[in-house]
């Protein structure tokens, strides 16, 4: 089977078979990344444009490496340096990029649905690298990959996602991803960070971290997005209080299953949502996630290039 689509916009509309295909293909690309010569000629002559309207180092670098290891040419468009600050619309920016014969546009945008609009209007393949509070599909795919590598099976796996669920596209994509693959998903956080009716996505809600962690096989900590706090939005009284209630400490980690794994999409805030001892512990697979991210993004670019 093959990925019969031009774009990767979200996990929500992917089938279990498509997800499995991406993960299987990523295994071969991980092997490529382990070689002395970390490059294959597969996308030679193709152009990948990273169009980022929000700051990001990790995701952009990961996509850049993925494209380069497939021998594609990569161009990075950062918002502050681009003509967007001169009043150009998203679509005009994208059309200009496409006019330069780009084959892939990797888009990060603060507005949910921005990649969907571009995907409809452009010939190039669009890969969603995070759109507002909507989805971050390649993050969920690399999380799935990392877990499959460590735990083999998704069925019956208990996953707790902890933090600001309401503002997190990582949480949303992972809820879709892990429930689709048959895992049991819990979301844990203060009520101010819990989206309304989140249960309808098939998850169990916990407001108490200790209770939410009991017996889980995987803990996914989300970064406390302090930038979401502002005069109009107060989600928690202080970082100190948040850390006291929702920081993953060694004592709390001990409540989970003995072989539980700790994940984090990065960047981590030591001492806020995750204690340094936990982030550096043997349970942590945070750096494996980063390694696997390149392989998964190579797989996505490779598979989408067939659907163009």
């Amino acid at each position: 089977m093959s990925l019969q689509r031009k774009d990767l916009l979200g996990i929500q509309d992917l089938s279990v078979e498509e997800i499995a295909l991406i993960l299987d293909s990523a295994e071969s690309f991980k092997e490529v990344s382990g070689r002395d010569i970390k490059k294959v000629p597969t996308l030679r002559g193709k152009t990948v444009v990273n169009l980022f309207f929000e700051p990001s180092t990790r995701t952009r670098t990961s996509f850049e490496l993925a494209a380069k290891r497939l021998s594609a040419d990569v161009i990075n468009f950062a918002v502050s340096a681009s003509s967007v600050s001169k009043g150009e619309t998203l679509l005009d920016t994208a059309r200009n990029i496409e006019a330069m014969q780009a084959d892939f546009i990797v888009l990060r945008h603060p507005m949910a649905g921005a990649p969907n609009i571009l995907a409809k209007l452009l010939r190039a393949s669009v890969v969603n690298a995070g759109d507002g509070g909507h989805e971050h599909p390649t993050q969920a795919l690399l999380d799935l990959y990392t877990l499959r590598e460590k735990k083999r099976e998704f069925k019956g796996l208990r996953l707790a996602i902890v933090g600001d669920i309401a503002h997190s596209r990582v949480a949303r994509s992972n809820i879709y991803a892990f429930t689709k693959m048959g895992a049991e998903v819990r979301v844990v956080g203060p009520p101010t960070m819990m989206p309304l009716e989140v249960e309808r996505l098939g998850v169990r809600v916990f407001y108490d971290l200790d209770e939410g962690l009991r017996g889980v096989d995987v803990i996914m900590m989300l970064r406390l997005q302090v930038e979401r706090q502002g005069p109009g939005m107060i989600l928690f009284p202080s970082i100190r209080e948040y850390a006291r209630l929702y920081c993953l400490t060694p004592a709390r980690l001990a409540l989970a299953a003995p072989d539980a794994l700790v994940m984090h999409p990065g960047p981590i805030n030591r001492g806020v949502e995750i204690a340094p001892e936990v982030a550096d512990s043997r349970s942590s697979v945070i750096l494996d996630q980063v390694t696997n991210g390149v392989a998964v993004r190579m797989a996505v670019l490779y598979l989408l290039s067939g659907g163009q």
């Binding site: 990925l3 019969q4 092997e31 597969t42 490779y302 598979l303």
Partner: protein
């Protein structure tokens, strides 16, 4: 059945399922051919100490293992075997509607300064072998690359020649060659589908 463009030999059986078949090699002939090739490898490389086999997915994998077993028997020392998936090195990725499924490459030894013998079931256009050589070079710098195939059916589109051939089999372009092996749950035989 021929699609107007070349196709890689290992895809041929998928394209041609229901036609009349004629057996051109039986189990014993396959076995003798492999034994002869093993002896030729041993003779040519003076003891096979620096030899390693790399089977090309998917048709060459089992044949490479069988050859390695025979070589080990002849030489008394184990001969390393690897597996190479050439998908990422194909020259028709842009022309295809959908991407071929990737399989794993596993070369658990350093190929640098070794004599690497690529193994495939059918040598046809030569494009698979071109891709395999490019792929192999990304793993190191072998002292030499040789090619062993069970069947050479002609119709080369690239200047590539096998070092060891089980059987030369002149074919028409529209015929397909099917190599059936025990490892895949079939009786060992090579059939030609017209």
């Amino acid at each position: 059945m021929f699609h107007g463009r070349f196709f890689y030999a290992h895809e041929s059986r998928l394209m041609n399922a229901n036609n009349a078949e004629r057996t051109v090699m039986d189990a014993q002939e396959i076995s003798r051919a492999l034994t002869r090739i093993a002896h030729e490898i041993s003779e040519r490389s003076r003891g096979a100490a620096q030899v390693a086999l790399v089977g090309i997915r998917s048709g060459g994998v089992h044949l490479a293992r069988r050859l390695a077993a025979r070589l080990t028997e002849i030489e008394g020392t184990a001969v390393p075997v690897g597996t190479l998936d050439i998908t990422l090195y194909r020259d028709d990725l842009n022309a295809r509607k959908e991407q071929p499924v990737l399989r794993k490459t596993e070369i658990p030894f350093d190929i640098t300064d070794r004599t690497i013998i690529l193994v495939d079931d059918v040598l046809f256009t030569g494009r698979t072998i071109r891709a395999a050589m490019d792929g192999l070079m990304d793993f190191g710098r072998p002292a030499e690359i040789q090619l062993a195939v069970l069947v050479d059916r002609g119709h080369r589109q690239l200047p590539i020649k096998a070092t060891y051939v089980g059987k030369n089999l002149p074919t028409a372009l529209e015929e397909t060659i099917d190599v059936c092996l025990e490892e895949n749950g079939e009786t060992d035989r090579v059939v030609i589908l017209a």
